[in-house]
């Protein structure tokens, strides 16, 4: 099962903020982490993460700074700001509301015609 496009788009912000709440990180590592956390179910085009990170920076949720990687390459690191963690808390809450609302609805196993066994 892989997630729908809209859902991926909507969940990007809280997910990135949550990953950064573990400490400073950079683009490639964030994508790796998303992959691990979702068991590969959330598929991103890698490059698309960067405009998102920049948007978060402009909104003041993360702060970016240039540093060096282990191999000495220039690398841009991102860390969560105070406003970012407030935003994360509020988004977490919103997702919980959605989640509990969905859980409260009756859940039936879909009975579909068995497919060619």
């Amino acid at each position: 099962m892989s997630l729908g496009k809209d859902l991926v788009a909507a969940s990007t912000t809280p997910l990135v903020l949550a990953i950064l709440s573990d400490g400073e990180s950079y683009g490639y590592a964030i994508i790796k982490r998303v992959d691990e956390l979702s068991g590969g179910d959330m598929q991103w085009t890698d490059g698309m993460l960067y405009p998102v990170l920049h948007r978060l920076e402009r909104s003041g949720y993360v702060k970016a700074s240039w540093g060096r990687s282990e191999s000495g390459r220039r690398r841009k690191y991102y860390r969560l700001t105070e406003r970012g963690s407030e935003e994360l808390a509020s988004q977490r809450h919103q997702w919980q509301v959605v989640n509990s609302a969905l859980r409260a609805t009756p859940f039936h196993e879909c009975r579909l015609a068995p497919q060619g066994i």
Partner: protein
């Protein structure tokens, strides 16, 4: 081999106007990390590079995402790119429409002469007619240009026509006292009210969008610069024309003042609008350069002014001209602030210039407070007149704007927030100007009995 491939990829990425050098650096770091990890997993260099590039996403959609995030970069650099596919055709068509509308504006301003209202006959009646209507001859055409260019849907066009029709009816049907206070006030505020209506067309109807509003603000600044340049060029051309025709014994003064100046000015308004659209990049750095130049000068002037007032103990003279001067000054300060913000690199750290900018805003606030105080004193002593109420309203609007701008700018300097809140505050404030301008044009005559 690898370096060559990456260099190639870099130069492709660099050509995208929405992606700047720092972004390419960041993406390159990603690419290299991915490549080395894939190589560790046993792929050869070539395969690793191909897969890494594929995972990063194709540059088209990537640059679209960046463009979405950084519309101001497009403003600075794009423009020609989408049309490049269709060749020069689109551009030529747009130019033709603009020239056609410019000619129409030039003709429109001469039409009243058919009714015997000559621009130069100097009676108060015709003076008042041209004062009230000049902006109505040209700004609707500018709105038409943008409505056409942005492909506004029919419903949107109808809505867009409404303010112009209302304005035309109000200034021509209300029984104003000839050249009375309410009429002069309406005349002064009408261009502002209509200019913001043109902004709706400029935004393609989506005027609530923050980025589009900001782009309209940029457009307005650049338009003013273009218009001033065209006017200066036109002035030189006319001066020379007059002199050389004078040399062969022909006096062209009447022709120049009754035809070339009015028609040329009307046409130039449209042409300037089209040029800003078509050639933004040519003088993209004009507004920021002027801002850089004049921010210190304005700050110095205001400091000296405040100092002089304290020193001599004189107070603000509440004359219409004086108050208009003050309002213009404050509007200019807001404009300097806006262009300084829109031109600065969002990633840059606050510097000395930003401190100066804050000082300018604070000086302007003090001056505004002085003006407000003078107006209030005058009102409490002599009661309400249209001029005083208009001045009061304008200064209140500006004091609120400047006050909150100062707070936001201070926070920005303390690195608590980015520049975005400041930009958003300014664009969110635009409708306030529109509402006030329309109140002065439409309601003031009614409330103050057309005096």
């Amino acid at each position: 081999m690898m370096e060559e491939r990456i260099g190639e990829w870099r130069s492709y990425a660099r050509r995208r106007r929405a992606i700047n050098g720092m972004d390419v650096d960041e993406l390159e770091d990603h690419l290299r990390t991915q490549v080395s990890e894939l190589k560790e997993a046993g792929l050869d260099e070539e395969e690793a590079f191909l897969i890494a590039v594929k995972r990063l996403g194709d540059l088209d959609s990537l640059s679209r995402e960046y463009a979405h995030e950084y519309s101001e970069r497009l403003w600075k650099r794009l423009v020609v790119a989408p049309e490049a596919l269709e060749g020069g055709l689109e551009w030529g068509k747009e130019g033709m429409v603009a020239v056609g509308l410019a000619v129409a504006a030039g003709v429109a301003i001469k039409l009243p002469e058919l009714l015997g209202l000559s621009l130069l006959d100097g009676t108060e009646l015709t003076q008042s007619f041209y004062m009230r209507n000049t902006s109505l001859f040209v700004l609707p055409l500018l709105a038409v240009f943008f409505a056409w260019k942005r492909g506004l849907e029919p419903a949107g066009r109808l809505w867009l026509a409404a303010p112009f029709i209302v304005a035309a009816l109000v200034v021509n049907l209300l029984p104003f006292t000839l050249l009375g206070d309410t009429e002069v006030l309406a005349v002064l505020h009408l261009p502002m009210a209509l200019w913001l209506a043109v902004g709706v067309a400029y935004a393609g109807g989506r005027w609530r969008d923050h980025h589009r509003r900001m782009n309209y603000v940029r457009f307005s600044g650049e338009w003013l610069i273009y218009f001033a340049l065209i006017a200066a060029g036109g002035g030189v051309l006319m001066g020379i024309t007059g002199v050389i025709f004078g040399a062969i014994g022909l006096d062209l003064e009447l022709f120049l003042t009754s035809w070339v100046i009015p028609c040329g000015a009307m046409g130039a308004i449209i042409i300037a609008g089209w040029l800003v659209e078509a050639k933004q990049s040519v003088i993209e750095n004009m507004a920021p350069v002027l801002t850089l130049l004049f921010t210190p000068l304005f700050t110095l002037m205001l400091l000296v002014f405040l100092g002089t007032m304290v020193w001599t103990g004189s107070s603000v003279d509440v004359e219409r001209e004086v108050l208009i001067g003050f309002d213009l000054l404050l509007v200019l300060v807001v404009a300097l602030l806006l262009y300084a913000i829109s031109a600065r690199d969002p990633q840059a750290e606050p510097g000395l210039f930003d401190g100066l900018q804050l000082l300018l805003v604070i000086c302007a606030l003090l001056v505004d407070a002085l003006a407000l105080w003078a107006i209030l004193a005058r009102i409490s002593e002599f009661g309400f007149t249209p001029n005083r109420v208009a001045a009061l309203g304008e200064n209140l609007i500006l004091v609120v704007n400047l006050g909150w701008s100062a707070v936001l700018y201070y926070r920005f300097l303390r690195r608590q927030v980015g520049v975005t809140p400041l930009e958003r505050w300014q664009t969110a404030y635009l409708p306030v100007y529109a509402v006030w301008a329309w109140v002065v044009v439409v309601l003031f005559p009614l409330v103050f009995g057309f005096q």
